[in-house]
Symmetry: D2
Subunit: 388 residues, 4 copies
């Protein structure tokens, strides 16, 4: 069985998620398209890199990602660093002929994203951007229903991504709150997942109206480079600095198909944790999903008899997308791990079978265009068309 | 105990709701502020009016609402007719010195609403507009929490009103789909309830961005004047006419306080019936409500210990607003009737105690201004300020 | 239109519920089978009786229920007193040729219940016992599905009735905690509702295994005769007396059909308010209901395609039982009032049309037999057959 | 860092679950107590064993589990075979001085389980039985609340495990329906998980009343040895054989503490997939859990103010048990994998730190005693005490 050597750049929580995906993928998808080998991991210093190798099961480690590009044994570069380094690493990897999977958002801006897209296209390598949530079986089931025409022509897509890990002003100023590193705030970090899902399920977005807000205007400076995701609160006499990105974004949306919708994302929603929801109204039915209860998809078919019509709560399992590979009955439990295992599988399949995978850098670029348009619209107060 | 004589103009489903409210109010609120007497009901012809009197327990009936104004024994005029007659009846009633409760929306336009407001102010009568949903105990509980500061300064209000009774294109063209009668579609009929709730809970709205859509552009002409609410589908070779109102409305909203939000309403949401929801994010907590599960309010307090923090599902009962008057334990069951009983109580109290009740014609007028601005914004594609 | 004169014995919270049902019934069910006239109300003293008449809209009042039996104008006797007086009043009413509706449980014991049943049978009057919850539209819909064979042969019925209004030991010792008045505790007060639903949906019960518990063994003596349902807590130096009834009951059940099941009821379930639930597994499907979300019935049909199978959440409305009479769209709101309006309608229909209504005194007697058997089984530790 | 060599006996779906747990454990728990090495996997024939090694990442494979016992490099024996081989393998492993983790139920009977317990005690090795569900963070959180006294003395534990994967009579007769292999049916396979949770949270069970049923009395004989969990339905002219185990079990329970309860498990609950639920009523609060929504625990504290009391929906995350090790925010997603990773961690910790882990073979033996008593009670119709 073919093996593909992976070099992973970055060793934070996303490194953990990607590592277990590589380890677990062949266990779930068998026969596997190829066996990913955790060959080399890169982190910012020797100690962190060595630890990452031991912890995540990589054969070796390094502190300079450039070394990866020179190593001909590496097939895949996996980028799990903060957003500001995505472009440089990805372009170098493309030039070196590596297949690339890059964490989301693809980059800080559409311009950066476009350069990355150009690079992978020129190099002819496979590329993927890690909007993993669409690989939740229930979301893939929504896609299946839509493709089968089960809810008819889509009229409306209404999506949210609500969190509260940084709703407390004492939550530190990690890189996610710095425009120079992150590009944007709730928009790039979380709203882009919903934009990805919207495009996946309802088609291309043509025009947006945005309203961005920064509720918490300064936060305690964080010592160390780690992204603590709000679990450590600053106390005592702390130094604060300005937040220069949005922490809430509201939009109205028009799709190329004529459908309309809205996407809202905030990090200030006390009680919401990873509240990725969407509701789709079609001419023949509706679909509702909430990632916090991700084993379930709710769907209503208008052609059910009127005395038996209502949302069905479908627990995904063997009868649904990815179901044969995952667990033998529904509700044994889809976790974050499983979404990443499916993602790893589909990426590696695209390499082995020389096919396109989605979402790829083009999708990442489109999402960056939409993100930039949302900010522009928020600034101008005007509807803004998406143009490449 | 004082008695107040009621004349009700209109005998449709809303007539039923108001009638049981008058009958039931003293049973629930005791001692009652006054006992409403169902004195006279008016409907469009003799047969309908006679039936309405027998069915709804009125002492007498008439076919011309003008007769009511000449009858000095009538204290209260209750207007439950389609929207196009609200202004004429209400202005006449005000001139005749009657206290007025009028179904929502107050009128077809802000201009009509303003004339009604001017009339009741000039006459010095009590006036109320029947946005009953805010009298659901769980919504009143949300108000109480907000006033107590329990969720802090409000950042965001996100409301929906989703229905499906006319999602089928075979559903008839009742007056609710004719601009000349209704003024607007989903906007006036249902979105205004959410606008009322938004103002009630989050304060005055200063600016709106609207996107109106008419998905079903023609419907079967309906024989008879009844408002069938979609339960009777047209079949066979039916004549169709154009729908000239919206059936879906999406908005972004800015409040005077600086809070932001969105309100969406549609009649094309298969599987949603009377899906009035709102979620409010404050600096110190969040509130969620869904009228389809109206006995419950969900609230999250940020100052709960981190290992015990989460949305609390509060079932309203004796410990909550209106609870002493309603049922002795939570979840015995709040229905539409109970919201109307509370409304009748508060209106009659305002007469007896000579106090202002809310929502009144001024609130109705403000909501009409907001509605007109939403349509104007939808037409222009621009943010529109609310100005009297 | 025919009128039927009602005398109501008792003026507590159940008096309220029955009164609004009489007032509202013709408003909802039109043409009504007859118009109930609130003629006479009886309470324990002059002040209470006079207040009840004013509050509940009765024409006159009395303090001795025997007066009712001598009044030939009275057609219906409505018994809403504590359990210990049901038998005496009902037997007298039967002898006087009155039709009778009696609050549940029918009496304190099967023996008492049998005497009541014998009396109404001998008198040939109509009789009903007010297990109103089965008239919740969603429960009637469950019955319809079962009768249509939609879930096949029933295998299992699992019911609960959980409350917390007396979970606090400071909650007073109302008559509901005295065996001499109530007959039993959670069993008679709440479990009997679920037994009624079980018989209604799954057929006759043949054998029971019971386990009764009294967690709170004494409570503060309550001043005054009112049944406060736990809303007033005793404070300070209060006198306590023993509770001599169960406050929790667990059972296993065998039905005549061969189906099995369990019923559990407790007043010590913090956070549960009026948590009447049942889940039924049939060979071809399942049904779930929770009264706290009573507008909904959940049903799963096994013959749905495997990729679209799951519980459907049906919101009851015009397409479902009683729907034409109630509200024009689902989720406008079924409350306690509506269940009582349907009950009043069906009882009055049985009088006008000379038909049997269910649950009647025979059902009440069977439920009393089952209740007595549960207590006997709990005492003996043995399965106990139900025998008349 | 210390390494521990694992030999896994069996390569079915449980083999997958255990393998990803070994691979992922150090990624989540860092520093790990030791790094488990997937050394050797055993399956019934060469092809299956070779495939298991490649798929699950084991260094080598074998077809005779006895070989494992002779290999001194093996530290841990992991038994994931059908129930009838647990005792023989475990006793041999104990004699060989291996630490043992064994899938549940521990064995077919209490007698078998006792011999296993004696063997591990005599050998002084570490032992665990893989009732993994109690390691769901939300269940561990329930334990924490109980230990902190947050819900007071426990009055009632009500548990269910409902599934539908074999509700269809065409679902094949896998080993799970043969008493000679499985020992019992729904009881051993699924009810034991709830018994484990009941003992974990509410303490030792002293007495049971059981009612066992076999609804589907014969099933198609299955070709091949695989346990298909009902995903492949038999069609055409199939040979059927008798099912000699229960497919539904209902019980009443008494705990040593005086608490009471019930446990029910069935494989015939259409629409329920992995519906492990429990509700616990304590003197000061209640807890509810449903594994199908496993990221959540619901808890009600009676000492909340009466206007703010209700079930809190707690999404487990970093502030809760195992939270530091798992994902950085709640609701990223706990799946089956995560429960197995925690299990692997706690087992390996017990070896490294020479401590007892729970549930161990003693727990497995107690659960087997309870299971045997449930069957005995069902046969006799009498309450049955648990005696070693």
């Amino acid at each position: 069985m073919r093996k593909l050597n992976v070099a992973m750049i970055g060793g934070g929580f996303m490194g953990k998620a990607h590592s277990i995906a590589y380890a677990g993928m062949p266990m779930f998808f068998w026969p596997a398209p190829a066996i990913p080998q955790r060959k080399l991991v890169v982190d910012v210093n020797d100690e962190l890199a060595q630890t990452a190798a031991a912890r995540y099961g990589f054969e070796s480690y390094a502190t300079d990602w450039r070394r990866v590009m020179e190593d001909p044994s590496i097939d895949i570069v996996d980028i799990v660093t903060p957003n500001d380094s995505h472009a440089e690493i990805a372009i170098a990897a493309a030039k070196a002929g590596k297949h690339i999977i890059c964490e989301k958002p693809l980059a800080r801006t559409a311009e950066e994203s476009k350069r990355m897209l150009d690079a992978v296209r020129e190099a002819g390598v496979k590329h993927m951007v890690a909007f993993n949530y669409r690989r939740t079986p229930a979301i893939a089931l929504a896609k299946k229903y839509i493709e089968e025409g089960a809810i008819g022509k889509i009229l409306n897509f209404r999506g949210t991504y609500l969190q509260d890990w940084s709703a407390d002003p004492a939550s530190p100023l990690s890189w996610r709150f710095r425009k120079s590193v992150a590009g944007s705030g709730a928009l790039g970090d979380i709203a882009t997942h919903v934009i990805d899902i919207a495009r996946y399920l309802a088609g291309e977005i043509s025009e947006v109206m945005g309203m961005a807000t920064t509720w918490i205007k300064e936060r305690p400076v964080q010592s160390g480079g780690l992204d603590k995701l709000g679990t450590v609160k600053a106390t005592g006499d702390v130094k604060k600095e300005a937040v220069d990105v949005d922490d809430e974004i509201s939009t109205l949306i028009r799709f190329e198909s004529g459908a309309v919708g809205s996407i809202e994302a905030t990090r200030n929603a006390w009680g919401r944790n990873n509240f990725i929801t969407f509701e789709i109204h079609g001419e023949l039915g509706s679909i509702f999903f909430n990632y916090e209860r991700r084993d379930e998809l709710q769907v209503c078919f208008s052609n059910d008899p009127s005395d038996r019509r209502g949302f069905r709560t479908i627990y995904t399992g063997p009868a649904h997308p990815y179901g044969e590979a995952l667990w033998p009955i529904p509700a044994l439990g889809i976790g974050y791990t499983e979404t990443k295992i499916v993602e790893a599988h589909d990426f590696i399949s695209s390499i082995v079978n020389d096919t396109e995978v989605s979402p790829n850098f083009y999708d990442g670029y489109r999402i960056a265009l939409i993100s930039d348009a949302i900010i522009a619209s928020s600034d101008s107060g005007k509807w803004t068309k998406i143009t490449e």
